[in-house]
Subunit: 532 residues, 2 copies
Amino acid sequence: MTFTRRTFVQGLGLTGGAGLAYGALSTLGLAPAAADGSARFRSPAMGDLLGPAAGKATVLILGGGPAGLCAAYELRKAGYEVTVLEARKRPGGRVWSVRGGTTETDLNGETQTCTFGEGHYFNLGATRIPQGHITLDYCRELGVEIQPFGNQNANTLVNYKSDTSLSGQSIPYRAAKADVFGYISELLQKATSRGALDDVLTPVDKEALSSFLRDFGDLSSDGRYLGSSRRGYDSEPGAGLNFGTPRKPFQMSEVIRGGLGRNISFEFGYDQAMMMMTPVGGMDRIYYAFQREIGPDRILFGAEVTSMKNTPSGVQVEYTQDGKKQARTADYCICTLPPNLVGRLSNNLPAAVLTALKAAIPVSSGKLGIEYSRRWWELDDRIFGGATNTDKDIAQIMFPYDHFSGDGGVVVGYYNTGKRHQAFESLTHRQRLAKAVGEGAAIHGEKYGRDILSSFSGSWRRTKYSEGAWVGWSGSDSHGGEATPEYSELLAPVERIYFAGDHLSNAIAWQHGAFTSARDVVTALHTRVAAS
Amino acid sequence: MTFTRRTFVQGLGLTGGAGLAYGALSTLGLAPAAADGSARFRSPAMGDLLGPAAGKATVLILGGGPAGLCAAYELRKAGYEVTVLEARKRPGGRVWSVRGGTTETDLNGETQTCTFGEGHYFNLGATRIPQGHITLDYCRELGVEIQPFGNQNANTLVNYKSDTSLSGQSIPYRAAKADVFGYISELLQKATSRGALDDVLTPVDKEALSSFLRDFGDLSSDGRYLGSSRRGYDSEPGAGLNFGTPRKPFQMSEVIRGGLGRNISFEFGYDQAMMMMTPVGGMDRIYYAFQREIGPDRILFGAEVTSMKNTPSGVQVEYTQDGKKQARTADYCICTLPPNLVGRLSNNLPAAVLTALKAAIPVSSGKLGIEYSRRWWELDDRIFGGATNTDKDIAQIMFPYDHFSGDGGVVVGYYNTGKRHQAFESLTHRQRLAKAVGEGAAIHGEKYGRDILSSFSGSWRRTKYSEGAWVGWSGSDSHGGEATPEYSELLAPVERIYFAGDHLSNAIAWQHGAFTSARDVVTALHTRVAAS
């Protein structure tokens, strides 16, 4: 219990505008073999270990999701003998790409089998990767091809309830943005020209600000917002005398009270700002690549863990596979199971740890994919990726980032959390689809209900082996910035059992969180082995 | 001269948030053959013609760029006999994808031969397609695969001169945006809370505005901007207690006077807002597809037109091919040559037309592509597409939107216009490269000058057969909204000679402009033929 984990990521920062340094990446890469041909341990980051030493222990890893497979992969580099026990028949855990042939029985007892056409899929879990996340380095290292993920699109729609005439109207996102930026620019311009901020702005500041606002809000020379080509056109400008028909702006008070700007900050988020990336062919490509590198024989699928215990000389884990009870022992265990499920195992964990695990509250979230035979979003609405946003229960409609101009595609009919997802999770799939299509049609029109070939939905709280989309600590859904006592408790190993997963990171619900947690644990474990 | 062209695009608008309607697209598509097997004319848009009629005229098309090939393609659908005369040895005109093997002698007399590795290229001309542009419909119709174009990236840098301490500093775009939005939110919040705008905002407006500003600016509960995770981190948050090291905000006055927000509105532009698209493998893929559909034997390459005249019964065009003078006659001519070059032809155009052509002033612009053996922008700076922006002469550095995580790639070292491009166009290529690398290294660091394999540059005013990147009318670089007398003059045919090109559209410098112009001319010409 005295082995403290060091935060190795500290060394990876750049003083400039970037995230991980190449030096770190290269050591993360497949390390060259030592001169004697033996595999030498390469720390997952620079400067963490006192010196290289061959792995000389066996490690049982519970869970074949991002944390488990990353840990197994890094330990293999160092020569450790690892075995991954995974209850599902596939790698990736909550990184789940649903495609034709996917079949799943949820905890509501309903079985769905996906019939999407060849090459079509949607990611029911993680679907996008920010540029700063180590996930991209693993894609690179594992040879997983990546492509842009459309996380922002001016041509998508917003549709919100309000006590204005805009309530329930579908408004192009670009128009909402242009009006919001136009009016706040006009207002600030007016306030400064009235001298209302003369105590905080010098005359030079005011002039520079005014120049910015004219551009930012597309203001007239006298400082007013009168609309903007940025809103788009009712009819596209063409040749000759066809100047297009610009769309007229909404009234200022309507725009402000209608809350048209309520989702704009999404696109500024550190982990949501474009460019965002995603693997070609599905996020699960990363985990099949890990599986290939780890060696398929080291991952036992369909192995449902029932017991995890420290013993005087190591760890013992029991599991059921193909209806048979089995047991394995090893020197160490890395438990990457969802914290909400660990307490159900037969275990000898201390009371404080069991209490801490209960503080991790599973979040309700899920998605529904709708396969259309016609890409109406491109053909009718000129939408090539991105998401429509609404305060209806569906929260958002996400458009495909691949198969552009193809014959069909899979639209994510909702991706929502909390109460808005709970409005779906108890429903049958047919009921979910009907509700999703109803809300979607209220935004994108009747075509939303036409040309549907098939669909598939999942709710993570109703999904076996997960029972949650991710966790919040002590009721908070925050992605970090604060270490609750329970969170801190689980950062330390319990004798020879280590915990890892995005829940023990400051990037909860992100693969980056799971990877960095796994890398911390691998580093700590190897430091301990090297010192023993 | 009495045939007025109708603006067919009017019928293509949607009342919702979109551009071209599917109905229009489907008629634009390859029309099914008539029952008798003959090709029936299908108007490029609905409702333009009184009725279908087979094309029964010959048309000479001068120029094999977007306007010329689009016109030839649409006329072929209607059964017209077309011949395209193109001076270059390739289709596409100013749509020029430079790749290994490309060789060009510019009007400075310098010959460059590109040695980029297999699969690498950059578009020296058009490189991106807005979602609303008809260019995407042609990609779809012609089977040209498209992919996202990274036109906005929070991880790129901005670097501007000012009289502040931020002058010449490289600042992550995301940090510039967060600070600008934070401070303008704080300022507007302060002004409204002081009652400075009580005559224009009701109490309900003020409350809604305040709620928006807190979110938009990431303000503290007391309405101040104290920095934001949106700015990014000096060290990325990871697992455990590694909360990351947030970057501290700059001072308000520095941000405002430093002009950090000067380029933010770029990403709101009607024709620049994400998502933007581009063909896989180079923009010229569109024109090779046109060539395939038109039939290569109908396009004469290396045919330099020297004379274009109306005759009593049609048109006569003279050209030089393989050093031989040749002549052709036809019923009609569509001239898509740059307006600045038409007056040099031997011609019998009226004086008013020649005067009008002179009002089209060529714009100075160009690009330089740098092939690196190492993708430092991804590995070191975590930049996956998008552009760094600066007020240095290079104006911007554009990062590749393909070959992600590959071994190398082509960065566009500058794409600039006007005076800033003129600082490059008289230089030799070596001098251009040296200046571009010097300015780039001042922004991205010394690595900018390392690992360079090769490079290629082009200046459109010094490029034969173009002598301009695009044109402005009467000195204005505006993309439309106003029809000058000279512009209007050229919209009408001169007897049997029609003019087409982006210069006769409200989307100057865009392929959409060239296509819509060509479609207008094709429609007008066919209306005339059908009525004759």
